[in-house]
Amino acid sequence: MATADEIAEHARLADIRQRWWLSAPALIIIFFAAIGPLAIVLLYSFMVKGDYGDVKYWQFSLDAWTNVLLERDIFDETLSIADAHLVILWRSVWLSFLTTVATLLLGFPTAFFISTRSEHRRDLWLFLITIPFWTNILIRTFAMQEVVRNEGIVNSVLMALGVINSPVQIMFTDWAVLFGMIYVYLPLMVLPIYASMEKLDFRMVEAGYDLYATRLGVLRRIIIPLVKPGIIAGSILVFIPALGAYVIPRVLGGGKSMMLGNLIELQFGQGRNWPLGAALSITLMVIVTIALLAYVRNAMRSGASHGH
């Protein structure tokens, strides 16, 4: 007869096997419709572009990767920095950064406001933040368009007040894209900060005031350090999708204020340069991964310093 120890070990292995079977459908679907294709993208970035889109199979070249940052002159074949790509890359990073800062400046006080309401009211305010969050991104972008168009609210109000005589062009500028991204990603900043702030023990704030701290002192020395995990989480949750934004710059920026996502799409559409599109996709993913890793390291460090 088997010993009790062997029975326990057998049960453990059977349990692990069963757990693999149970997770198999999810893993297979994600492999075929999310992770696997990424490997193909990597492969495509090293192939020669086809004449009418797609690639020439198994003809390898590094052209796509050199084209990410450099361009070959069509006449004398010399290489120079691809200004257009660099501008778009820089705009993606810069606008994403500005969006993160702006949503933080707006979102932090909002999260503070919600978490200081009475328990009953808090749910209602939170609900009000959640609604735009769940509204289709296209609808929200379209709504923003209504605001910043030449005939939109901003221009109408400014003209009615006599501040300006003719409409200010906001649509199809970086400003429109920035406003759109702030508007769309604001809830993504508020929610994680609120989640941290909700756990904040306000007796610590009381203790701060008791020990002669000013309002600014309490904010700077007590509240912000304690909700830092939420601030970092919110920043990353805004920065990463902003980097890969596609719908917002397409609608509000048009061809004039493109971001990386639109540049990628262009290669698969009119550009007919799939390898370049693939290389740009990998570039975007690498930037996002770096941001994510920085976040994970930071989160682990702050987690360790808080002792849990």
Partner: protein, 364 residues
């Protein structure tokens, strides 16, 4: 050792948890105990002593690393919990929140494939037994803690288990309710005639309810006996210390006669004490004296003497804290019946008399 007539016979059971690297935690270390039919048996010990691990092994939620567990002679160590005729009352009750009181109580019978009428009859019987008939259609979240406790009991008793396991079931209740439930549990055990194995860290609870108690520490059973046995004749320092208040004295044996031993205390003075069953070791020994078996007296004619360090009033009695000449503390408990209290003050040097036959020599 156990026989086949025992309800539960634990033989040489160890449970070793593998820690990081080469570390091993012996949650149970070669434990043997036989629990008789129809008795109220208590596993008593501090948290981490292995009492809950032993209970989980009997219930089947865990398997022993070594040894066997027999239920009426049959080895059940490898049976899964749903094949063991043993039921548990969980510490947090573990009532199913999506079922009513009656559905909870009927669950075990339903799983055993009993007929509907039979289940209904048994559920009604159990509801009456725990006095919960009016609340049978309530959700378990809509009843009080004490009522949840009774439902948990009824649910575990309904399938007529051969042994009922109770994992600190009273620890979540407040003091008054706990007292009531102690009596209720005792009544249920008497009425159902089922063997109860009760786990607790509360020595008072163990003393008031049990037929027999096993005192555990660090994965071992130190002493098994009736409450009186364990209180009056603790086998070693840990048991004496864990159950009730105790004074420990250092002494040297100077002569034995008829199960009694004459001792010279290291604080000066002398005492006559019972010998431990296994005989006496050479050299210094430890003697225990319960505070209620000592009294303050004149130094002349007393057993030994000490200085009064503190006097603490408790209502029914007063504790006089003494320091003996060898530096050991000693507490005397005085009953506060009118006028009986000897008038002592802090700083007084007083004598202590021990009721003859109450001092015991123990293993250290």
């Amino acid at each position: 050792m156990g026989s086949d007539s025992a309800a539960i016979d634990v033989r040489g059971v160890s449970r070793i948890f593998k820690g990081a690297g080469q570390d091993e935690v012996r949650a149970l270390d070669n434990v043997s105990v036989a629990i008789r039919q129809n008795e109220f048996f208590t596993l008593l010990g501090p948290s981490g002593c292995g009492k809950t691990t032993l209970l989980r092994l009997i219930a089947g939620f865990d398997f022993p690393t070594e040894g066997e567990i027999r239920l009426y002679g049959e080895d059940i160590a490898a049976l899964p919990p749903y094949k063991r005729p043993v039921n548990t009352v969980f510490q947090n009750y573990a009532l199913f929140p999506h079922m009513t009181v009656a559905q909870n109580i009927g669950f075990g019978l339903e799983m055993l494939g009993k007929l509907k009428e039979e289940i209904a009859a048994r559920v009604a019987e159990m509801l009456a037994l725990v006095r919960m008939s009016e609340l049978k259609d309530r959700r378990t979240s809509q009843i009080s803690g004490g009522q949840q406790q009774r439902v948990a009991l009824a649910r575990a008793l309904a399938p007529r288990p051969k042994v009922l396991l109770l994992d600190e079931p009273l620890s979540a209740l407040d003091f008054k309710l706990r007292k009531d439930m102690q009596i209720e549990l005792k009544r249920l055990q008497h009425e159902t005639g089922i063997t109860f194995i009760f786990v607790t860290h509360d020595q008072e609870e163990a003393l008031t309810m049990s037929d027999r108690i096993a005192v555990m520490n660090k994965g071992r059973i130190l002493q098994v006996g009736s409450p009186q046995d364990i209180y009056v004749r603790p086998s070693e320092r840990f048991v004496a210390n864990f159950i009730g208040d105790t004074n420990f004295l250092k002494a040297r044996a100077v002569g034995a006669k008829g199960g009694k031993v004459k001792l010279d205390l290291s604080s000066g003075g002398s005492l006559s004490a019972d010998l431990p069953p296994e005989g006496l070791s050479v050299g210094e020994v430890t003697v225990v004296v319960r505070p209620e078996n000592a009294s303050i007296s004149e130094i002349k004619g007393s057993d030994f003497a000490g200085n009064v360090e503190n006097i603490v009033y408790f209502g029914t009695d007063t504790h006089v804290h003494l320091k003996l000449a060898d530096g050991l503390p000693f507490i005397v408990r005085q009953q506060n019946s009118a006028g009986s209290t000897a008038a002592v003050k802090i700083g007084d040097k007083v004598g202590v008399s021990v009721v003859p036959g109450t001092a015991k020599v123990i293993r250290d």
